[in-house]
């Protein structure tokens, strides 16, 4: 990857080594959402993977959107 920017590379890449976000992948509508966990109850949408172009115009699916998440026991556990 080549960065072509007037900003010094050390400014852009500062903290790159220690930047280790935790991502989870969620099934959603037509595709998947890659969400960065920012707390136990919130995730930040990082990437949308969908074959439907109109999904990318949905204001609720723009990268950076904070999604409230709730972790619940899986279905299988409940049944058992």
């Amino acid at each position: 990857m080549i960065l072509y920017t007037p900003l010094p590379a050390e400014l852009v890449l500062e903290g790159y080594e220690s930047f280790r976000p935790e991502y989870i992948e969620l099934d959603y509508r037509n595709g998947k959402l890659i969400v960065e966990l920012i707390s136990a109850t919130e995730g930040r949408l990082v990437r949308l993977i969908s074959p439907c172009p109109d999904d990318y115009l949905d204001p609720a699916l723009q990268p950076g959107t904070i999604l409230p998440l709730r972790l619940t026991p899986a279905e299988g556990h409940r049944r058992g």
């Binding site: 072509y4 007037p6 989870i24 959402l33 109109d54 899986a74 556990h77």
Partner: protein, 247 residues
Amino acid sequence: MTLHHRKRPVLRRSGKEVLPERPKPDSPAQNIQQLGQTDVAHIESNIYTISIIGQIEGHMVLPPQNKTTKYEHIIPQLVAVEQNPKIEGLLIILNTVGGDVEAGLAIAEIIDTMTKPTVSLVLGGGHSIGVPVAVSSDYSFISETATMTIHPIRLSGFVIGVPQTYEYLDKMQDRVIHFVCNHSTISEEKFRELMFSTGSLARDIGTVLVGKDAVDLGLIREVGGLGQAVSRLKTLVEERRAAGVAT
């Protein structure tokens, strides 16, 4: 365009079920209380706006102090704009400090090959890889005080995971130069001259063009702001309608 969440989605993650809890405000008053936001009237427009801000992020996620434009989201957005019958024109607003060469060129190429009218407006800055994006539209504007920095890739560029050879960077630079010169009226010779000029930038070689300079050199079509850009786009949309092109 209205793309509502038809039903509450069920999200699963490795044995656990994750349910997004969407706040569902019942009244505007409740909305203000809960989110600190007011309801905005939903107005349908035939113009779609994309803003290219901060760093154009490529194959690598940049650390969080960067404001970034993600190419993997912009590209399918442009696909949607091209095929959505309700959208008749695209306005691209740039205030970018450059970024990944390949991501920037990909966005520029896709804007260039769109059949719907496109107008770009450089506000604040359209530096480095922002230059090919700015010239890729059907008609380009730059605001009076906006700047565009033209400089060589190799001196302030940063290479990760590729052999940092002169030839490689030179080839990358040629891709940018050829694209810019093919999509504006500036000559390759002049562009290279600006790129390698000394004395203009403090810690680099290159040139900073302010508003009118970019127009005088043939890089950008006109000095103007939002009003001019939108009215130009509307004219292009009307012309396309008159020509009987189906959206």
